[in-house]
Amino acid sequence: MKHTSLRNYKNIIRDLSELRSVKPTPAFRSRLEQIVFASLPQEKYLYNKYLLPYSFRVLTLTFILLLFSGLGIVSASQNAIPGSVLYPVRQLVLDTKIYFTSDSGEKAILNLEKSENKIEEIKTSVSVGNDEKLENAINAYKQTIDEVAKETKSFNEKNSETTDNIVNSLGRQEQTLQEIKNIVPENRKPAINNAINSRDNAARQVEEAVGNPENNSGNTQVKSIETQPANPEKSNENKLNNYERR
């Protein structure tokens, strides 16, 4: 009984669905489309069809949002430290700058900044005790510091300020590396020594390239002013006085 009843309902529903074949007459449809739509009151357009279409506006807005977000991220990443989320962004920005720079002085400074970042990475790796990261950081540091030395080979008198910056920075790096060496366990000291050696090589190359008076074997022309006396006349007078005393 129940099945008969259900079948009846199903039949009714099926028959009802067949009533979808009922449609308006073609005459009515054409009348509606031609007459009614033509007479629909047209209000003032709320937007000008000559203005940018919707999709273009959406794309433009999306592009602007992405641009400002990107700039914001880059700006925020400038102070990122190794281990933070934005640190890779900072590295990427720096690498991009190095890639697109043609000036050797600027390239050297950027590589120097990169080497200082690598020292930060070394410090972080030592503090967390990650040997693999430490090794990677040291290798990266060596590469970067070699780049610095390579760029300084083409320096001339115009780069004296840059050279001073590099020399000062290398000095600070030496101090930092020595401090790190003092605190690391014995088994990690060889790795730090490698880094220090790379720094020393780079410093030597820089000094050779620019003729630092500390290095006697270097070219003394650039900083020869430091070896000359301040007042040659007075010096001669002193010599004369010393001679007279004799």
Binding site: S5, N8, Y9, I12, I13, D15, L16, S17, E18, L19, R20, S21, V22, K23, P24, T25, F28, R29, L32, E33, V36, F37, L40, P41, Q42, E43, K44, Y45, L46, Y47, Y54
Partner: protein, 190 residues
């Protein structure tokens, strides 16, 4: 035997339809007649059918009311708050209100109308099956509410939720009306 089918194409089609309808509604709200015309083409047959069965298959009335539905919808389209509103349910609400106005105007409060006007035979020529004719006669004998729910549910394919939004009743009430309507149809068709 159950047939295997993938729901992904159906879902994808439904999503595409939804997106394109929302876009059309957005444009129609900006008084784009072409977009409105597309919406009309999509829903005209359904509206006509709904009104046709509600006015006891009176073709002239069905055409007049259908025409009025689309006219009124054009004027009121700004009242659609956002494009997420179901356009079909909204336009059927307009049709529902107009049919009620028609009943009030013609004082035809009950659906038990045994008098079938002559011009209906033109439409009946298209319905050859006798059982279909019996079904149509039986539908006319339902109450307004039952007719409305039965037509929207089983002919136009509305969900219970959509019907409840159109006739402003709770879903449980819609289900009850549907059940009573089907039961009455079954009794009438015996």
């Amino acid at each position: 035997m159950r047939h295997k089918f993938s729901i992904f194409p159906l879902y994808k089609k439904r999503v595409n339809d939804l997106i394109s309808e929302r876009l059309l509604v957005y444009k129609a709200k900006k008084k784009d007649k072409k977009a409105y015309a597309k919406l009309y083409l999509k829903h005209a047959d359904s509206i006509y059918r709904y009104v046709f069965f509600r006015v006891n298959r009176d073709i002239q009335q069905a055409e007049d009311i259908t025409q009025e539905v689309f006219f009124r919808a054009w004027g009121k389209i700004d009242s659609l708050r956002d494009e997420k509103v179901n356009f079909r349910a909204w336009i059927f609400r307009i049709a529902h209100n107009l049919v009620i106005d028609y009943y009030r105007g013609s004082k035809n409060e009950t659906g038990l109308n045994e008098n079938i006007p002559d011009h209906k035979h033109t439409e009946e020529k298209n319905l050859e099956k006798l059982d279909q004719e019996l079904l149509l006669s039986a539908i006319e004998k339902l109450t307004h509410e039952q007719k409305e729910v039965i037509v929207m549910k089983f002919i136009e394919g509305f969900s219970v939720r959509e019907i409840s939004k159109v006739i402003k009743k709770k879903e449980i009430a819609v289900r009850a009306i549907q059940y009573r309507g089907l039961k009455k149809l079954k009794k009438l068709l015996k």
